[in-house]
């Protein structure tokens, strides 16, 4: 039925393939338009042939394929925007930044591998990247072993404070805790916690439960959905059983499950009026993907919304749309990616260089105390490697963007080790501190 693949044939096809690939290389060297991963680099000075002595190499490590590509691709875009802006303005101390983009492929071992490659082979001076906590935990040993530097742009569960990572997303006290306080004050005391089944929602819910117990709220139920699972009927039945007369749903679902959850909530008659839902993983892009009709009047807690009114944000949004198209939206992790590059740039300028391994240490120390007028408002890097951030709560409105219904009057200082969780209560992190065993985690 099938013919054997003979040697002769192999030679013919082999040579054909070789010829084709050579031709392909020859044709495609100016740019590879069919390759989506390469296209963001087009036109940026990164792609122009500059002598490596005149550039500062930085790495960008995000998933461009696989499950997480949905979210991470836009962070790559905003990181690249920040680099382009710096390059157009003359670079850092006269040197252009050259970005090397690597694809972590939504696979945690690949992240570690690519991190190693960026550090050893490409000799980058800093890496911007990672989204999921799992990918961060996978690259952490690499960065600690090489004593290198990663800027991590996503809100996360806290409980970590590495010397080799700068966290520019929110710690729990800059997103989860203020939003729970706001819900207790405005929406009711009965909570149901829904989350995806992995480290971030589980830790977040531990924090929320402790916080509710302390402040007089009630956790009437919690359930976790395996990542990617879209069958939410059992959860909705449980919510109805636990909160027959309405109550607050705190949603830490991630990815595809969110879509199913909101679509089926509406079908089951759980309205936003009776069951106000606070989400921490739904930003502007996700609203577009889920469909704004399903999310109308629901809440999300972030540090940045596209609708923040400030000259810095206007500039950021305009520049982003000009570069990537009018239909694109900006969101919180993208803004954090943008902050990362700028804080790093200021630190390099203060340290006076970023080329040698010895500079790494200087740049790290120079980062402490750096302030930046970010689109979300002023931020400042703390010696615990996290930044102060304004906390906002947004309500989904007709056009799919967020109406900001609450904002903290001033940026909130970051607390990486959570004070509601008994194991970490009383611990602190300060990498400028001397005289303690581990400046990353010590008892005050």
């Amino acid at each position: 039925m099938t013919r054997l693949f003979g040697r002769r044939k192999f030679m013919v096809y082999g040579s054909a393939a070789l010829g084709a690939s050579m031709l392909l290389k020859a044709c495609a060297s100016p740019s590879a338009p069919t390759d989506p991963a390469a296209s963001p680099a087009d036109g940026s000075p990164a792609a122009s042939p500059a002598a490596s002595g005149d550039t500062i190499k930085v790495g960008i490590l995000h998933s461009l394929s696989g499950t997480m590509a949905i979210s991470e691709k836009s962070v790559v875009d905003s990181t690249q925007l920040a680099i382009d802006e710096i390059n157009t303005a003359g670079g850092i101390m006269g040197k252009q930044i050259e970005a090397i983009v690597e694809d972590g492929a939504s696979d945690w071992p690949t992240f570690a591998e690519k991190a190693k490659k960026l550090i050893e082979q490409d000799e980058v001076v800093v890496v911007f990247g990672c989204w999921t906590s799992s990918s961060r935990k996978a690259v952490l040993p690499v960065f600690e072993e090489k004593n290198h530097m990663l800027y991590y742009p996503v809100q996360y569960e806290g409980q970590e404070c590495s010397k080799n990572i700068f966290y520019t997303g929110a710690a729990p006290n800059q997103q989860i805790e203020p939003s729970v306080d706001w819900l207790l004050e405005n929406k009711g005391k009965d909570f149901f916690l829904v989350g995806s089944d992995y480290v971030f929602p589980r830790t977040a819910n531990t924090i929320i439960k402790a916080q509710l117990a302390e402040k007089g709220g009630k956790t009437l139920g919690e359930d976790y959905l395996p990542l990617g699972n879209t069958e939410v009927a059992p959860i909705i039945a449980k919510i109805k059983a636990a909160l027959p007369n309405g109550g607050v749903i705190y949603n830490t679902l991630n990815g595809d499950s969110n879509v199913a959850f909101f679509k089926q909530m509406q079908g089951a008659g759980l309205t936003a009026e009776k069951y106000p839902t606070m989400s921490v993983s739904i930003a502007e892009e996700e609203v577009q993907a889920i469909g704004k009709d399903y999310l109308l009047k629901q809440y999300a807690a972030w540090n940045y919304f596209m609708t923040v009114e400030s000259p810095e944000n206007k500039k950021f949004v305009d520049a982003f749309k000009a570069k990537f198209g009018d239909t694109r939206v900006t969101n919180d992790p993208m803004e954090a990616g943008y902050i990362s590059v700028n804080i790093w740039k200021q630190a390099v300028e203060k340290a006076g260089g970023a080329g040698t391994p010895a500079d790494l240490e200087k740049v790290r120390e120079a980062a402490y105390g750096q302030e930046f007028a970010a689109p979300e408002g002023p931020v400042k890097m703390f010696p615990n490697h996290h930044i102060s951030k304004t906390v906002r709560i947004g309500e989904v409105r007709d056009d799919g963007l967020f109406e900001i219904v609450y904002a903290t009057p001033a940026p909130v200082d970051p607390i990486p080790w959570n004070q509601y969780v008994t194991e970490t209560k009383g611990f602190s992190c300060d990498w400028t501190k001397t005289g303690v065993d581990n400046p990353g985690k010590f008892k005050i």
Partner: protein
């Protein structure tokens, strides 16, 4: 009390019908043909993306017609998925019949290609692909007229392949640089797409304290229609008879003049088309993105294996059993039925979505220990053929 039991039954059946809808195409492809098609989920995904395209097209038209877009989307999804399935069968699977391991790997590769395809497809890419096919296959077709085609075929291929790749790449690069973002921008990108149900499918029908979600009702009806359609097709039509004959004994059917190749292609296309319909229906409930198919593939295989390979009724019963078990265990209703505190503990422990999955899987493994061929095994000599 009555309402809550009704709600429970409804939800269990509805989860079951979702599983069934997703597994129906596979029951034909895997059950009848024995092809392990790992790209089945991606065919569903293509159906879901077709729904997005149809929805957006109807949004442009607007008015009362938009409310009916879902029916057009169902038909379009069937056609698109069936065509892709046909191409898959003609291009890959027909060379691999009777070699399950190679089929598994090849179709898995196809599934990855399809996933990345919807992420990166743009006008430039489509243009390049079409140009390449025209040059490569068109060139071969033209040269076929030569008398000595057979003897020089290898060289023609060797020359045509790099030539057509080169020309189409260069042309797309040129296009990309001339028209920039307008043609290089991906159609969908890596982001999830939104499918909004027409307004008559949103909300639900209130019964007492509960509300039966309309989308779930719609999917149940769709599933019933599909099962009835497949049953009618297999048992009442000429081609259905041929399909059943070929699955029972391929060689004998061929001897009797049944075009087995054609039957294979048609069977596979119909199975794929059903996957497309499933993708369209499920886009009302879940997400539409490059990974949509991955969310269903394991469950669909599970349903077919539990039901018994090769029997439609097995797939129906298997899907319903798994759906109801999932719901009953996941919501912890069982705990209310017993007064034994230890047993109550156990049920409460498994009453989360993740743990319910664990228990259901464990029960399935246990079940397969006693009935390795599933609920309704194929009987007779055909089994090992």
């Amino acid at each position: 009390m009555f309402a809550s039991i009704l709600d429970g039954i409804f939800n269990g059946l509805s989860i079951g019908s979702i599983l069934l809808l997703a597994a129906l195409g596979l029951a034909i492809v895997f059950g009848l043909m024995g092809v392990i098609n790992m790209a089945h989920g991606e065919l569903m995904m293509l159906g879901a993306y077709t729904t997005v395209v149809v929805q957006n097209a109807f949004k442009g038209i607007g008015g009362p017609l938009f409310e009916l877009y879902i029916f057009f989307a169902l038909i379009a999804a069937f056609l698109v998925a069936a065509l892709v399935g046909l191409a898959l069968e003609r291009g890959v699977i027909r060379y691999l019949y009777g070699r399950p391991l190679e089929t598994l790997l090849a179709t898995w590769g196809v599934s990855l290609i399809l996933q990345q395809f919807v992420r990166s497809v743009s006008w430039v890419m489509v243009f390049g692909l079409i140009l390449f096919s025209l040059l490569f296959f068109g060139g071969q077709w033209l040269l076929k007229r030569r008398a000595d085609f057979e003897s020089v075929q290898k060289w023609i291929v060797a020359a045509l392949l790099p030539l057509s790749i080169g020309i189409s790449l260069a042309a797309s690069a040129f296009l990309g640089q001339t028209y920039k973002l307008a043609v290089t921008k991906p159609w969908f990108g890596a982001q999830n797409q939104d499918v909004t149900a027409p307004s008559w499918l949103r909300g639900g029908i209130p019964i007492g304290n509960f509300q039966l979600p309309s989308t779930r009702l719609f999917i149940m009806i769709l599933t019933i229609c599909c099962v009835a359609g497949v049953y009618w097709f297999l048992n009442r039509t000429k081609w259905g008879l041929r399909i059943r004959a070929v699955t029972q004994n391929r060689n004998m059917s061929a001897c009797l003049g049944i075009p087995t190749r054609k039957v294979d292609a048609i069977t596979f296309a119909i199975g794929s088309g059903l996957a497309g319909v499933a993708g369209c229906g499920l886009s009302l409930l879940g997400s539409v993105g490059p990974n949509t198919g991955q969310n269903y593939i394991v469950n669909t295989f599970m349903v077919v294996v539990v039901g018994g390979v090769g029997k439609l009724v097995g797939t129906v019963v298997g899907a319903m059993a798994i759906g109801i078990a999932d719901y009953v265990i996941g919501t912890g209703i069982l705990g209310n039925l017993t007064n034994n505190p230890a047993l109550k503990e156990v049920f409460a422990f498994f009453a989360t979505t993740s743990m319910a999955k664990v228990l259901v899987f464990a029960l399935i493994i246990l079940f397969l220990q006693f009935r390795p061929a599933g609920l309704f095994p194929q009987k007779g000599r055909t089994v090992d053929a």
